[in-house]
Symmetry: D2
Subunit: 334 residues, 4 copies
């Protein structure tokens, strides 16, 4: 199975590295990115790739079976449609699209295509979250009543990034929305969301929040309470709790070591792993491995276009809710 990677930013590089090091069944043949020189320099240590500027090249190459799309969000829709037209399987970075209309169109047109399309919601492949999911699926937690998720970044993003990000609900909390769907196996029916600007006034000037919350009511009666922050001084904080009629399972942060240090001042442990490349390292390898397996063994992907669409639908509802300060039903947006 031969693969082309489109977009060699941070995530494109993570996926390429994982394919090379952890997925012997796949071979990365082409890397496509307008920043050819940088990509060449980066790729040199990893393998022998064809490096091109034009993203159409891997789509035209008959040897290529699948592409990884990790380009800027605004290009997602066009690239995905072209890739499907070219008959390539697609591993698609999240979010599916930069707006609900595009996402909806993709969902409607691509739901039944014969190629595999996997959306890169990597947390579904995280060891901690999967363990919680397995407790739910096995019935050990009983009926799910409540989900609480916390997500905090270790440092503020660049303000230019914030401006183009689509806002905290689309860019950041979208993982939480997918997690809620993943863990409950149920759909969101109503959202109440909001936020504050507590970290950097320029984020407010850009029309966004840096601290935000959301409450989701799920079809099955469960409630999901989310809080996120663009900056936690102690590092990347990624916690989930699922509370059900038979118990509660919660994922605490991972740390670099399990050393406990006791001194005159305090008893301390490591801080959480620094950021997503460290914290979700294994999940990135797992998700791309699962994609290759789906293609090779002709099995359905575990996270398809619908997941991409639905998470954007929830993000839009959250956005409307925050701006109008009222609960918003998903049905309003359909």
């Amino acid at each position: 199975m031969k693969i082309g990677v489109i977009g060699l930013g941070r995530l494109g590089r993570i996926h390429t590295t994982n394919l090379v090091q952890h997925v012997p069944e796949a071979e990365v043949k082409i890397l496509a990115d307008p920043r050819v020189e940088e990509t060449e320099e980066w790729g040199r240590n990893l393998g022998d790739f064809e490096i091109v500027a034009d993203w159409h090249i891997p789509l035209k190459d008959p040897e290529i079976d699948a592409v990884v799309i990790a380009s800027p969000t605004t290009l997602h829709g066009e690239m995905l449609k072209e890739a499907v037209k070219a008959g390539k399987h697609v591993f698609m970075e999240k979010p599916l699209a930069h707006d609900l209309e595009t996402a909806k169109e993709l969902f409607e047109t691509l739901s039944n295509v014969s190629v595999k399309i996997q959306i890169a919601f990597n947390r579904r492949f995280d060891h901690n979250f999967r363990k919680i999911k397995s407790f739910i699926d096995s019935g050990k937690l009983g009926e799910v009543h409540l989900i609480r998720t916390t997500s905090r970044d270790p440092h503020l993003p660049d303000i230019e990034f914030v401006k183009k990000s689509g806002g905290i609900f689309f860019d950041f909390m979208i993982h939480e929305f997918d997690t809620a769907r993943f863990l409950t196996g149920s759909e969101v029916v109503e959202v109440y969301a909001g936020g504050s600007v507590l970290l950097d006034p320029r984020i407010g000037e850009a029309g966004d929040f840096d601290t935000a919350y959301a409450m989701l009511k799920m079809e099955n009666g469960a409630i999901c309470v989310i809080d996120v922050s663009r900056k936690a001084v102690y590092g990347y904080d990624q916690r989930v709790e699922v509370f059900g009629s038979k118990g509660s399972a919660r994922a605490e942060n991972d740390r670099e070591t399990n050393v406990i240090m006791s001194t005159e001042e305090a008893v301390c442990t490591d801080k959480p792993l620094y950021y997503f490349p460290q914290r979700y390292m294994k999940s990135f390898a797992n998700e791309i491995e699962a994609f290759v397996e789906s293609v090779l063994e002709e099995k359905p992907v575990s996270v398809g276009v619908e997941a991409g669409y639905r998470s954007i639908l929830i993000a839009r509802a959250a956005d409307v809710s925050a701006r109008e300060n009222r609960p918003v039903r998903i049905a309003e947006l359909l």
Copy 2:
């Protein structure tokens, strides 16, 4: 300092025991409860008390300096006013009153009286919550951005109790509302709340929820996210997290022992302490000790009538919010 206790249910007994065992400066002289016989039997092992049915007796007794009121909530208002009229200091069980109107009237008439009135928000005296408060006050957490509190009981209450309780926001979440005010030192400006009936349909038939959540927006910009449940199979779950610009402090549950047991099946610790008499044991002793100290040393009480009133105001806002499914501003209710 001589004390009369009015109402010898669970909390009246806890306060009496704490006064006898931990507060040598105070002497419990009279116990007033219509269930005279039961009270006599219970009190026999603890000391030599005058046991009466009529709650007016301690108020008329010129030897009595202060009363503890731990009667059913509907009697709180009348008893408190009578006690103040009789010139007694009052340690008043929460909630201050069974409805907002009574609470408001008490707040307006009793805010400037010369006797001490302390409202029994015992969690303000809990070792874990106090430690978090001290981190906030010392500036170690920086500016407070978010508070998350979870409160879950170990078993369902009696359905008859639920019917008379005033509802989950007044009876249960009121502690969370006070905690939000206590920790942030700021007032609530808006509430969005809701709930589900997931545990027992009779609770729904009684017009109440068994699982509920609330989001509070505080005057200082902080957000408070609350979730509560009437039943967690693993015991009394009482956690708080405060996240600020310089760090995060969270209180985990207390357990009976710190033993870790590793077997072929798992690595396990104790469950949380069973229920409030175990979990908040020390806080009950601390709060009544603080009350006696306030009286003897003529210092202001740390939790006064305003705290009682404000928590009920928030509860009412939560109740309206849940029933009308919209955010409710506190100002609407003033």
Copy 3:
């Protein structure tokens, strides 16, 4: 049941307080200590006691049913014998005696007397250690293979205390020796012990160690590995692990709160509870309550003279082992 307390140092005061506050079935009538004035001042807040200098007075008083002996170790033997002669039940601070010869004599003469004699090995009544014991007794740990205990004080003792203490094995590690017997329910057959002077050279000049270790071979095949230190900068470190064929149970330190603080520097919790009056508070109340119960209900005490004697036998073996740098069999000393 009326009680006299002999010796009102730190432990005598703890026992008196516990009797007053937690054991309503008992009444402390007499406090005997040559430091009459200090004792009077201390006792004033606690109750109305007869305070005397001469320890014979409670023994002669026909109203007194039992005495607590918490005097300096060198007086233990004489006082205990006199108390038994006077027909009083005795709650006896550890160690039973300051040397093996006295301990042996007491064991031989007092094993079958009709009064109750309980040795104050309080750790047997500690919530953590009792939980481990319950796991052993219920068979959950299977056959016990290994015990590891660590004991570290938060600060160095006064050098004058060290000189009179009998040495680290008699004064300090004796708790560990009793714990080994308590947990395994088996006798020590051989000891290898040693130590270093790493904290204060004056301890070495006094012929003692400040850091010490011991290995005990038990009759049932289990091994017990002990390490102790006179000073841990982070506080009182009290841990035990029991490893068996079906699992392992270990007691971690207790802390004042369960608050976790995450900052830019680290993720920290409280240090262990400061010292034995904090850490073993509950165990002191439990042990004296058990003593009173044994007397009133005419049940055998749970820690008798034999436990006092055997622990001193092991301490002697450890002392010989450390001085001669060889394993010493208990049988050598009988």
Copy 4:
């Protein structure tokens, strides 16, 4: 840099995989193992190797720069000498040799050779142990007073393996001996060790122990207390504590997830990672990476022949101590 691997058992395969996946600077060219067919089958998925039965082949190949020796211990000495004679750098599995005499000879003849020889004490490269070492080196723990290490396997080894293993001190506790030297940076001067047969009588019949302990006195005054067991039902238990004048650092076990599960029965976490390939996965990659770096950058190896020799010297002392039940000075064996 081209590498040959000699011995493709469990560890040889781990090293080969790590070289292929994590060390792009090195290329594995030859795999030498008498089990040619099995090796071929195993290696097929990993890369394109020359697979030979005769271990002399990589030594004779002029293209080969370095060899990994992971053969049975009895062959270590001969292979190492031949490899050095052939001018190859050597990454040598522990233990250096199967007896003290061979180890001594290797140490004396190979200490000053120009090729790099690294002994595979992988725990020196473990994230937890390295963190503790960094605390020691930075002075944060002050002067080291005590080291406690626990090592327990998740299941009994094959009895045939035990018979050929050289005994629990040579085969198993040797890691602990190296850890003591690594962490303290000091040499052992005296050993007291012993053991029991508690798990399987056949281990006793083979003249070995299945449960063992050792106390090491270090030159710098520190004491090291070790306990090991051939079987812990709850999995691979690998803990180290270093206690010093300024604090204590301890490494707890690593687990697969950080999920906490609370149910009616208990609050549980994962068991420790199952066994050494899981628990020490990263350390194996780190150590071979360090070896390649030492060769390429002409830097001294971090674990040389002396470490191999000294650990065997301590193992011998432990063995003599256990058999003669007396402390044994290292100087006796030189």
